[in-house]
Amino acid sequence: MHIPDGILSAQVCAAGYAVTGLATWYSLRQINRRPDPTAEIPKASLLTAAFFVASSIYIPVPPASVHLILNGLLGVVLGYFAFPAILIGLFFQALVIGHGGLTTLGVNAAMMGIPALLAYHMFQTRHTVGQLLKEPARTGVFAFLGGALGLGIAALIFLALIILNIPAQLDAGAEQTAVLALSIGHVPLAIIEGVFTAMLVLFLRRAKPELLEG
């Protein structure tokens, strides 16, 4: 779902960098406000590695195939660390495995990072909205929602970006159909990532609950 170089206009790429710059600044400021800002770095670096590798795991969804993104999972587990983690992961993906591009790094980071922050807030609402459910069902359900939502919103942003930026010479109808099909392909993936997030979070809750306090 990464947007490669040469698909978007220069203005859109610049706007992407601007949004990513703002979001990175905001995330780092939130991290700095913590009593111990470096405490979460081991968790963040390990999940950055997982994010970097995840995009090479393909899942066949007819007629095409989609790959894992894990941005919702990063948001749920890392909180504000998710944005820099995704930015760094995407940078290395573009550089090493040619996924995405350097001109579109800003757009891609905003497309995947901002839904990750939304997923984090979604997961945090388990303390307020989720009071009706008992533990561990509450943690599981909200982790699923966070993981699925993170990817779902990213897919919607992708859909909007591509449809609004179809070059004039292309057959817009055919391209729209193709983008729509690809986006629908991400619905099963959102469920898979939601389940995966819930499993990981429930495991962390049992094994090392302090990791979820962030």
């Binding site: 947007i3 490669p4 170089d5 040469g6 698909i7 470096t38 770095i41 081991p42 968790k43 670096s45 390990l46 950055t48 590695a49 970097f52 590798v53 393909y58 095409a64 195939s65 290395f92 573009a94 090493v96 495995i97 040619g98 996924h99 591009g101 992708f158 970006l161 591509i162 070059p167 010479q169 292309l170 057959d171 055919a174 391209e175 193709a178 983008v179 099909a181 690809l182």
Partner: protein, 163 residues
Amino acid sequence: MKFKFALAWALGAASLGGPVLAHGVVLEHRQLSSVEVAAQFETGEPMANAQVLVYAPDNPSEPWQQGNTDDQGRFSFVPDTTLVGNWEVMVRQAGHGAIATIPIGAATGGEATNLALEAEAEPSPESLISPSTTLSPVQRGITIGSVIWGFIGTALFFARGKR
């Protein structure tokens, strides 16, 4: 006399030649050199029915030809060999795509047929997908390994606790 008649008949028959007429079918052929592009996703899956735009070197803003790839992600076109330069082929589908630059004709400016042959002789197995990676698989593996180790090392460094 008889010989002369035979010669005249043969000449007449020969002058009737040209295209072979058999129940009104005209079969002509000429050799063209075409360019074939094959588009596939990184997984190796062909990019079936993707849109293809071909741009001639003299006009990079208007597509010279438009079309779609077949089920195997293939598309071929016959470039106008008088237009010497870099032809661009853009393949797009669902926000995925790439642009290939295909040089047609050499700078020598020879005959068109020669140029066509040169273009054909070059198999140019250039990949349309992920033009940004030019590393060999071994280099790639080492790079990926060191990147992952960089993350794990960072994690271990910060996880070692306060002394």
